[in-house]
């Protein structure tokens, strides 16, 4: 393409700094994780090769399977909560109306705030004694509905999922809004001439038109759900009795609290595999449906 002198070297030296940092800190460690995962290692003593022992121990650990179950719960509530809600809000906002910008601004706000702040704020909302949620329930006469939202084993994971949905809903809303605004106006006009309006138009015309976006957001929502850490670490630390513990927390606790770096690495390899597998399943299912 170019006939500049010394271009080869220029390309090399131009890409080199980014590549070194990227490979050294983001790519090589993946291989290192795989290597550590077959070792017994506390980070100080010499490593000892143990083959797949870490993996067999993980698979025998009931707590690990609980974390998998919790990840699946967050994944499902995430998909069910974020995508339809985001889509519905986008459909409502995708019209000429007063205040559309205002609602969009407010809707997106939680996305910008750090997970740490979201967790801290919601930790206070759920606070048993003085929390907003229990206070509201008391003030409207539903005293008996008060709960220890984060401390009660039957509520804590649900409470976390609600916060998780609250945090991300706005992102899905604006992604769908962007997709809806890309639909050519002729399509809408043609649909209306054919007598399709409102709900019918949404179901038959608009939603199928943005099917690709819906798929991408589904994949995004899934891979995101495997990365949840801050929210849970800060709100419950994975408790009570591991009922809100997810794989990332399990990995963190084993590696950095119990100093089992080999074992923790095996968990992190599994996190990577799980999320890749689920994402590729979704992709395949979606492709089959298209064919």
């Amino acid at each position: 393409m170019h006939t500049l002198k010394g271009t080869k070297y220029a390309i090399f030296f131009g890409l080199l700094p980014a590549l070194i940092i990227y490979l050294g800190i983001a790519v090589v460690p993946i291989g290192m994780s795989a290597y550590y995962s077959v070792m017994n290692w506390d980070g100080i003593q010499p490593m000892a090769f143990v083959g797949i022992d870490n993996y067999t121990e993980i698979f025998k650990d009931d707590i690990f399977w609980m974390t998998v179950k919790n990840n699946v719960f967050i994944m499902l509530t995430g998909i069910v909560g974020q995508i339809p809600a985001g889509l519905f809000l986008a459909l409502l906002l995708n019209r000429k109306m007063r205040g559309a910008g205002f609602f969009r601004t407010i809707g997106f706000l939680p996305v910008v705030i750090s997970s740490v702040m979201v967790s801290l704020i919601w930790g206070m909302v759920y606070n048993t004694e003085y929390g907003m949620l229990n206070s509201i329930l008391s003030s409207i006469g539903l005293e008996s509905w008060r709960q220890n939202w984060l401390g009660d084993t039957s509520w804590s994971l649900i409470s976390i999922s609600i916060t998780y949905i609250w945090q991300n809903c706005g992102l899905f809303m604006v992604i769908f809004l962007a997709a809806l605004q890309n639909i050519p106006t002729e399509v809408n006009e043609a649909a209306e001439l054919d007598g399709a309006t409102g709900f019918k138009k949404s179901m038959l015309i608009t939603i199928p038109m943005i099917r690709g976006t819906i798929l991408v957001t589904a994949v995004y929502s899934i891979s995101n759900s495997f990365r949840v850490f801050d929210l849970i670490q800060i709100m419950t630390g994975g408790g009570p009795a591991h009922v809100t513990e997810v794989m990332t927390i399990y990995m963190y606790n084993n590696a950095f609290m119990n100093m089992r770096f080999g074992y923790g690495s095996a968990v992190s390899v599994l996190i990577l595999l799980f999320s890749l597998i689920v994402v590729s399943i979704v992709n395949r299912v979606a492709k089959e449906k298209d064919a």
């Binding site: 220029a10 890409l15 700094p17 940092i21 980070g43 706000l109 910008v112 801050d230 890749l276």
Partner: protein
């Protein structure tokens, strides 16, 4: 469209208002309560404060070491941001404007990073930092922040630069400018809109990051805002109003940033989130 019934309009607005209230109320409630005395708050979490307790704020600022955390967050966020954007733009330039054997491979390699959960690299990064004696330094965060955000940065900038007409560089070549000169004086200036997106995204991600900070930093003099804040709340459990004041302080800059740049931010996030 004009014939839309009133009931429909009422439905739309009430639903959206409900949504807006759910989104804002927790924040609003926290800010209001951050101005109360502890007794007022315990008596009724929903009343408005009789006298605004600004002392909560000065006390939170002191007790929570907010100034230290702000300075650390600013240093780490901006250094990583500058390095990421400069190196990312340079890499994107060569990937977008030149043909060479490993171009496709290198590009795919960069994109791979968007698929990898950082958790899968956390333990090795901790070990690397320990090995090269960077554990518990600013640099121990700057390097991973740069490495992990290069993917998205290269992805967005490469896509943008590729769209430029081919003869763009020719005038530069005529003037005898070298490739780096062309990058700096011709390509970079017209990439400005995409650069803005990338800068905003990097800022938000770096500013909000928690997990790397949790693992790689231990001295409180180096902690970033999210880490310091979560520690403070974990320790200072006695005074909820003080906690609220501290969180509100941390909320203000990001709120201003958002309101000023919301349009670019929303666009950037939608571009950035569609990354598989």
């Amino acid at each position: 469209m004009e014939k839309k019934s009133l009931t429909f309009k009422v439905f739309v607005y009430s639903f959206l208002s409900l949504f807006a209230i759910v989104n804002v109320f927790p924040l609003f409630w926290m800010v209001v309560d951050s101005f109360k005395t502890e007794q007022e708050y315990a008596a009724n979490p929903f009343s408005f404060p009789k006298i605004l307790q600004f002392s909560n704020y000065s006390k939170a600022w002191e007790v929570a070491n907010m100034s230290t955390y702000f300075v650390n967050s600013i240093i780490i966020t901006f250094v990583s941001l500058i390095v990421t954007v400069l190196l990312g733009a340079l890499a994107a330039y060569f990937l977008a404007r030149f043909q060479f054997k490993l171009r496709g491979f290198t590009y795919a390699l960069f994109l791979l990073g968007m698929l990898v959960p950082i958790h899968a690299t956390l333990i090795p990064i901790f070990m690397i930092m320990k090995e090269i004696n960077l554990l518990d330094t600013h640099l121990s965060l700057i390097l991973p922040y740069t490495a992990f955000h290069l993917s998205l940065t290269v992805f967005i900038l490469e896509g943008f630069m590729r769209g430029f007409p081919k003869d763009l560089e020719e005038s530069g070549v005529m003037d005898g400018a070298g490739v780096f000169r062309i990058f700096w004086s011709i390509i970079l200036p017209i990439t400005r809109p995409a650069l803005a997106t990338v800068i905003i995204l990097n800022f938000i991600y770096n500013w909000n990051e928690y997990l790397f900070a949790l693992v790689l930093l231990s001295s409180s003099a180096l902690k970033t805002l999210p880490l310091g804040l979560s520690n403070f709340v974990g320790v200072e459990t006695a005074s909820l109003t003080l906690q609220m004041a501290a969180i509100t302080i941390a909320l203000i800059p990001i709120l201003i940033f958002y309101l000023l740049l919301q349009k670019q931010l929303v666009n950037g996030m939608t571009a950035g989130s569609v990354k598989g």
